[in-house]
Symmetry: C2
Subunit: 465 residues, 2 copies
């Protein structure tokens, strides 16, 4: 471990310096293949940095194949010839760029959540209990829609928290939203799909990939424009009424009724409601789901535990209205479930024993504190910028009031060491793009309060300079 | 528990009598909602039956909503009004039929594996270790293709055990074969796919569902006929060279070379090799994969841990040859992984620490003993039947030598209390159906040796009567 004394300097993030140091040591043969590295905990203590810093450095080295992480043994230097052929040129280059050339001190990333607050000990207990000998049946094939215990638990949660009214057999549990959209595509066929612009790119990519034509529909302050939707000719509209991504627009009940009435005007029209971060709302009354106002069975409801619990827990759920449920039973019910039954049991316990609700309450408090911190820290910008999309979710939007362009904002922030994201990255059509002023997005979920304050201060200084 | 004294009789399987007894008690109000039931272990001891019998009864009752299983608390009687609306009429009826009217003493089911031999304690240990505090990063989003640690471990295993030659970045880890076929479909597009007839129905259903036209190609004793494949016009052929399902045909190297040469004759031709139960081979040298003989990058290799480890562990892998890998990187690499990172870590440890190989060796011994037992017990039939598909896998085929039809065999077996499966259930075309004699399939993986011997004796008696 003496060898791992790193001459830190201030120009780069610490984790990157650790990462580069170990990589150089390996390339120069000073850490031969098979050498066991100190644990992230020990190294952090040794270097006087935080655990997450050493973890980040090791993660990057593992991702690039320099280190091998062996369960219950630790981290080991990999054989370097293997590293070379493990990396495709392209991904190697990307990683290189990502790891070595980061000019950012703070990244207001829109991905990631606050994992420091994840209830690890509880999860371990639930996992241990699910794996007890008495639960051997969990290793045999389960129900195709997902095990009834989990579907009942999700139903109960959705009814209580989101006003979603459904029976457990309307729910299909699947390994992530993208898989469930693939399944849904098989029910809906190759239809034109109306999407808000800007929108959630991942869903857009899935629809395009599956061969749907996607029609961008613009929004006003209340969300997707009804007339434009009607004129689009699409039979399916994908919307995020509780907190549109990325604009943060909350669709009021009037617009919701308009969309529901559009859907009921013609056979085969459906609204896909992606309720992706409805759990986090800081001001005002909770807004029930669009599905809860649907009396005609026109809403397909899509939800996930990725943001509310953890991205690596691949459990999402799709609620089908009756006509689509019948079609599913007839044509798609042969597909086996894509989620391990053990994970299903853990999640069912997490919800059923009340932990999920408590976890959400706790996370709401944590995110609210971060949310308040970012708003406070950005207040020096209030003369020249407005903020929107606050009050819910885990990101905000910053709009220039004096005509600065998005590119200018992103560049200026970068020069100040801060990464922010241009709104236009999420555009899927031209509509609305020209009229709006320069707008950037700041995600804050995965940052500590200190990092948020540091980043906002750097950003304000750069933008006011 | 005194109430749960069941007057057993011999006409029905014990689990079914327990199931019916509890259901009746509930319907007649003698087990009010919320009543806690004895554990499966206690009830088994009390009634003098095996744990798996009581477990089976409880599983069925949970599946139908009569009981609720609460993690770490036990089984409870459900509220009966809720039961009614939990069941769709259709699935309710099916279950009824399945549970109440089973006329079989022994079911040579083709589904299921021997789960009594699953290494539960080891799996728990690996799970515990994966969930340690140091592994917090496992809860954040991982690599889209699957974490490199698992892909490296799978690569190493495939190379050693199956001769599959690939780099970890050619592998995509996904939640089950069906999901991976959906992904593959997005790379191959809507092409005609040649499949052996009879074949694995689940893959057939996926292809049909995704809109592929499926062209049945008949087999001779060496597998898919090359001329018929060439004449089919298909560019893609789906084959199971190591142990064709359901016929058990092992494709010799000559036919393999013919198929590989067919594939290399035209741009865009591929062979999908589903290596579904290659792990279990009892006689002769192990046969390497078709992929190992592929020098032109025309084989797409598909494998899974469902049979070799457990059906509920939803981890499969798809190996893409270079041209398809490039297409994947370009068009599909945005899809997030569908497998939980914790499960990936457990599986990587299971393989990497050598447990998988030991487990396979152990299971091979267990299945071989069952395989030998079924062959021995069926030997009284040797004058009028031939057996094929033995030597590998976990099922055998029984062919009538004196013109008895498949329906006759299935019915006669049923009258003798034994469930066997007609080969024609797996036909996807007319070819070969008429010429062949009556043939039935017997799966033995999930039965005990005693059950296998009992079933085979009953079957022999019925067929010889």
């Amino acid at each position: 471990m003496e060898e791992l004394t790193i001459p830190f300097h201030e120009a780069e993030p610490l984790y990157e310096q650790i990462y580069k140091y170990i990589k150089t040591q390996m390339r120069e043969g000073r850490l031969p293949a098979g050498t066991r590295l100190p644990s992230t905990r020990k190294l952090a203590g040794h270097l006087g940095v935080s655990r997450s810093t050493t973890q980040l450095a090791y993660d990057q080295l593992v991702a690039e194949g320099y280190l091998q992480s062996e369960p219950c043994r630790g981290y080991f230097a990999a054989r370097l010839e293997t590293v070379v052929h493990l990396e495709t040129k392209k991904s190697g280059e990307e990683r290189q760029e990502k790891a070595c050339a980061s000019p950012y001190l703070v990244d207001f990333s829109l991905r990631g959540i606050d994992l420091d607050s994840f209830p690890y000990a509880l999860w371990r207990r639930l996992a241990r209990e699910s794996l007890r000998d008495e639960n051997r049946e969990l290793f045999s094939a389960g129900e195709n829609k997902g095990d009834i215990g989990l579907r009942q638990a999700v139903c109960g949660y959705l009814y209580g928290a989101r006003g979603v009214c459904c029976r457990p057999e309307q729910l299909i549990v699947g390994a992530g939203n993208e898989y469930l959209l693939m399944l849904l595509h098989q029910l809906l066929g190759n239809q034109a799909i109306a999407m808000e612009t800007p929108t959630y790119r991942q869903a857009f990519l899935v629809f395009k990939r599956l061969g749907n034509s996607v029609i961008p529909v613009s929004m006003d302050g209340n969300g997707m424009k009804r007339e434009e939707l009607a004129a689009s000719g699409a039979k399916i509209a994908y919307v995020m009424p509780s907190h549109q991504f990325p604009t943060g627009i909350v669709m009021p009940i009037g617009r919701r009724m308009e969309l529901l009435s559009w859907a009921s005007e013609e056979e085969g029209r459906y609204l896909i409601e992606d309720d992706y971060d409805s759990e986090f709302r800081y001001w005002g009354k909770p807004i029930p789901s669009l599905q809860s106002a649907d009396t005609k069975g026109r809403v397909i409801y899509l939800g996930s535990f990725s943001r509310a619990v953890a991205p690596a827990i691949r459990i999402s759920y799709l609620m089908l209205p009756e006509p689509l449920l019948a079609l599913y039973e007839e044509t798609c019910s042969f597909y086996a479930s894509t989620v391990s039954r053990i994970d299903q049991r853990i999640m069912a316990g997490f919800i059923g024993e009340g932990h999920y609700e408590r976890h959400l309450n706790r996370m709401r408090g944590i995110y609210r504190a971060k949310h308040d911190a970012i708003l406070r820290a950005l207040s020096p910008l209030s003369d020249t910028f407005t903020i929107s999309g606050e009050r819910a979710g885990i990101h905000i939007l910053l709009h220039s009031k004096n005509g600065r362009t998005e590119q200018e904002l992103v560049r200026t922030a970068k020069d100040g060491g801060v990464r922010v994201y241009g709104l236009s990255e999420f555009d899927i059509g031209e509509s609305g793009r020209k009229e709006r002023g320069g707008t950037v997005l700041l995600g804050y979920a995965s940052l500590t309060r200190e990092k948020i304050e540091q980043g906002a201060a750097l950003l304000a200084a750069a933008l006011l300079a």
